[in-house]
């Protein structure tokens, strides 16, 4: 009896252990499958239309690679931040999303829940994450008057966007004591609730709501990880004074120094102040073979794109090659500047202006429309004018150091895998050659398909600023590389006559002088004060007889009328 009951007990225990073991194995298997699915998740929000892709398409910057978690901010944290830290916003107002940084929300979008132009979304690690894309710095707005309708122009410099101020906000939030799950999660729950009740227009893709597992993940890891990511990213950029940027401007070549681990504590002050205007990005086909960037430090449109792509978080390991190529192909030729309103051009003066342009400007700036030059016209468009001739503010030039030009040669190292093949050597040669015929384009595209992205091989140190083509000139105000001259008319005056204080980032247009309105109460209230006496903001140079600043009053007016048509 006793023996048999002992045997029963043993059998029971064995049966129970089998059950427990089995359930555990199944449970672990389910977790493993779920985790594997989540961790390998990588789906960008995509758009059928090239313009939408430019506005919101992902360059790959949201996702990570192995030990790099990627730059993407979880969607729910992104929309919660302005609600949670209104005191750190420029205007301290909730319910506006990121509009107070000059980010553009299209009509019909709700800034509380929708993304502004220049933010892309990708589902990675099971989370919808957002980060910058090209259009954040290359889409701007203008208005006819204070009450005029806002016109959004793709490819135009982001005249209203204060990137530096946004960096300060992100950095300030990450360092704020409220950046923790016990504050973040209730705010997210509140926003999710409001969002589900808001009548949002149908969109091809919505971020998924937070499920129970997401909430757990955010409570115990997600929020602190995000904080960690923001602090380490912005910590690396600590030597940069974001407060000096202002709307429409960026310090282009100091962030790569951080990426390359440069020691910045003993860097010369003049190497730390390269604030420059965002450029327009139309007509890249015609720019192939020109010297690009303000100081003409690279002749490769592809390298220039990849270099700028770092700003969207796209590293060699994470870049979405096809998505970036698609943007590049749209900027190649389809993307064009809108024409200046014809009714605002005084046609009777244009002919006189054209004659003056040909005499004074065309040698350096080329013809009005792409390709900006004809074979054998000895055009210097896209070439560099030495700093001693142009005499504009030299900070942007000096911030791009010879050491940086060299160290950039190690970026995208290892790519493409067959760099020594004949095709890829041909690609590196071809990438800086101007396009003449359709065959040129086809040959180049074929090489690019095989060899892009490729290690940077065309960065160089120059001693001046590049002569830019002038397509869409009217929307590229304020002028000079640092945005220190408000209008074309002011640029034709010698330095002592140019305004010394301008409020930039205000998008009402001055159709007579060609540029944005930078004075007056509303500009002062909405704009950012640019003081030309601050180092880096000097408004001198590009002056003297050959620059047209000694022309008669009437001739200057006529030239401005002609420049409107560019």
């Amino acid at each position: 009896m006793g023996v048999s009951s002992r045997g029963d007990m043993r059998r029971n225990v064995r049966r129970w252990l089998t059950w427990i073991g089995g359930v555990t194995v199944v449970f672990l298997a389910v977790i493993a499958v779920y985790a594997a699915k989540r961790l390998t998740d990588d789906t960008a929000v995509t758009y059928a239309d090239a313009r939408d892709h430019f506005k919101y398409g992902s360059t790959g910057g949201e996702r990570g690679w192995k030990r790099q978690l990627g730059f993407g901010v979880p969607y729910w944290i992104w929309i919660a931040m302005p609600e949670l830290f209104p005191d750190l916003l420029p205007d301290h107002k909730t319910g506006q999303g990121y509009s107070s940084f000059g980010m553009i929300y299209e009509d019909g979008k709700d800034p509380r829940f929708d993304l502004p132009i220049g933010m892309s979304m990708r589902r990675t690690m099971g989370i919808d994450r957002v980060y910058f894309t090209c259009s954040v710095c290359h889409t701007g707005t203008y208005r006819d008057g204070p009450n005029g309708a806002r016109q959004i122009v793709l490819g135009m410099p982001a005249n209203t966007f204060n990137f530096g101020r946004l960096a300060q906000f992100l950095s300030g939030s990450a360092k704020d004591w409220r950046f923790q799950s016990s504050y973040m999660l209730p705010k997210i729950a509140e926003l999710a609730d409001a969002r589900s009740r808001a009548a949002l227009p149908a969109a091809p893709y919505r971020p998924s709501p937070m499920g129970a597992i997401d909430r757990l993940a955010f409570r115990y890891v997600g929020v602190s990880l995000m904080r960690d990511q923001l602090i380490s990213l912005l910590g690396r950029l600590d030597f940069i004074d974001f407060g000096k940027w202002g709307p429409g401007r960026v310090d282009t070549f100091d962030p790569p120094k951080a990426l390359l681990g440069f020691r910045m504590d003993n860097a010369h002050a003049e190497q730390l102040n390269g604030v420059a205007d965002f450029p327009s990005v139309w007509n890249q086909k015609a720019r192939k073979g020109m010297w690009l960037h303000w100081d003409g430090n690279n002749c490769s449109v592809d390298e220039r794109n990849l270099s700028a792509g770092f700003g969207t978080g796209a590293t060699p390991a994470t870049i979405d090659r096809d998505a970036v190529t698609r943007i590049a192909d749209w900027l190649w030729e389809p993307a064009q500047p809108p024409p200046f309103p014809a009714s605002r051009i005084r046609q009777d003066r244009v002919a006189r202006g054209e004659a003056i342009y040909r005499e004074y400007c065309q040698t350096c700036h080329g013809t009005p429309k792409a390709p900006f030059k004809t074979a054998g016209d000895a055009s210097k468009v896209g070439q560099v004018t030495p700093i001693d001739d142009i005499k504009t503010d030299r900070h942007r030039l000096d911030t791009y150091t010879p050491e940086l030009a060299r160290a950039q040669g190690s970026l995208y190292a290892g790519y493409p895998a067959d760099a020594d093949s004949a095709e890829c050597r041909a690609y590196v040669e071809d990438v800086c050659k101007p396009v003449q015929t359709d065959q040129d384009v086809q040959r180049f595209r074929k090489l690019r398909a095989q060899c892009y992205p490729a290690r940077f091989q065309h960065f160089r140190k120059t001693n001046g600023y590049a002569n830019m083509p002038l397509d869409g000139l009217w929307l590229r105000a304020p002028y000079l590389h640092n945005g220190s001259v408000p209008t074309l008319r002011a640029l034709l005056d010698p330095q002592p006559m140019r305004p010394t204080v301008l409020y930039i980032g205000y998008d009402v247009y001055d159709f007579d002088n060609v540029g944005f309105v930078t004075t007056g109460p509303e500009a002062e209230q909405r704009g950012w004060r640019l003081d030309t006496s601050v180092p880096g903001n000097a408004n001198g140079g590009h002056e003297g007889r050959e620059y047209g600043t000694e022309l008669s009053h009437d001739d200057k007016d006529a030239l401005v009328e002609y420049l409107k048509s560019f």
Partner: protein, 202 residues
């Protein structure tokens, strides 16, 4: 039935051979440098291998990310390697650095590191470079986690390379860098640098 031990032996021998081949392929197999370096006299002097990649060769990705991780602390100024070594624009490595695949891509150092054909460029600050190698290798952050994290920002290592970097190449780099630091300070004749200071200005 009798065949079984033979099958087992054959399978193990094949397995051992595969593993040995992998080791040889990924750690010792020599690949020639590209013709763009070997067939050009100037390039061969500046970037050509003098055969020390297997001996003192740093794994390529350790050499690339080293200034990105430690340059901020152990180089004398901004610029990565360019702060202390002449570097031609557009080249992937500074002058005197040779890249050659011995198993994996590795970086060695050749005559041009110290001996430049003309005086137009920045001269190598050998002391600073040696100190950079020594100090980086002596830093507590010199470990597979830190180095791989930085590599992950720059390149997608294959699964096998990743295992090799973590287990073998990065730990071995520490010794290599310390040895390099010593060697660079005593070229040709012991104490050579003690008497003559290399030029540090451009």
């Amino acid at each position: 039935m009798r065949a079984r031990p033979i099958v087992a032996i054959v399978v193990s021998v094949v397995l051992v051979l595969v593993v040995l081949w992998l080791f040889w392929d990924k750690l010792y197999r020599q690949h020639p440098q590209p013709a763009s370096i070997t067939s050009d006299r100037d390039a061969a002097f500046l970037y050509g291998s003098i055969g020390n990649e297997s001996d003192t060769g740093l794994p390529y990705w350790v050499a690339v990310v080293l200034p990105r991780v430690f340059g901020e602390r152990y180089l004398p100024g901004p610029g990565g390697y360019a702060a202390v070594v002449p570097w031609e624009e557009g080249k992937e490595l500074p002058i005197g650095f040779s890249k050659k695949r011995v198993g994996v891509d590795r970086v060695g150092f050749n005559c041009a590191l110290c001996h430049m054909p003309d005086n137009s460029m920045r001269k190598t600050d050998i002391k600073a470079l040696a100190a950079f190698f020594t100090n980086s290798a002596s830093d507590a952050r010199f470990n597979a986690d830190t180095i791989l994290t930085e590599i992950d920002l720059a390149y997608r290592l294959s699964v096998i390379d990743r295992v090799l970097y973590r287990g073998i190449l990065i730990p071995a780099s520490r010794d290599r860098l310390l040895a390099l630091g010593r060697q660079l300070m005593s070229p040709h004749t012991a104490g050579g640098w003690a008497r003559s200071t290399p030029a540090t200005s451009r």
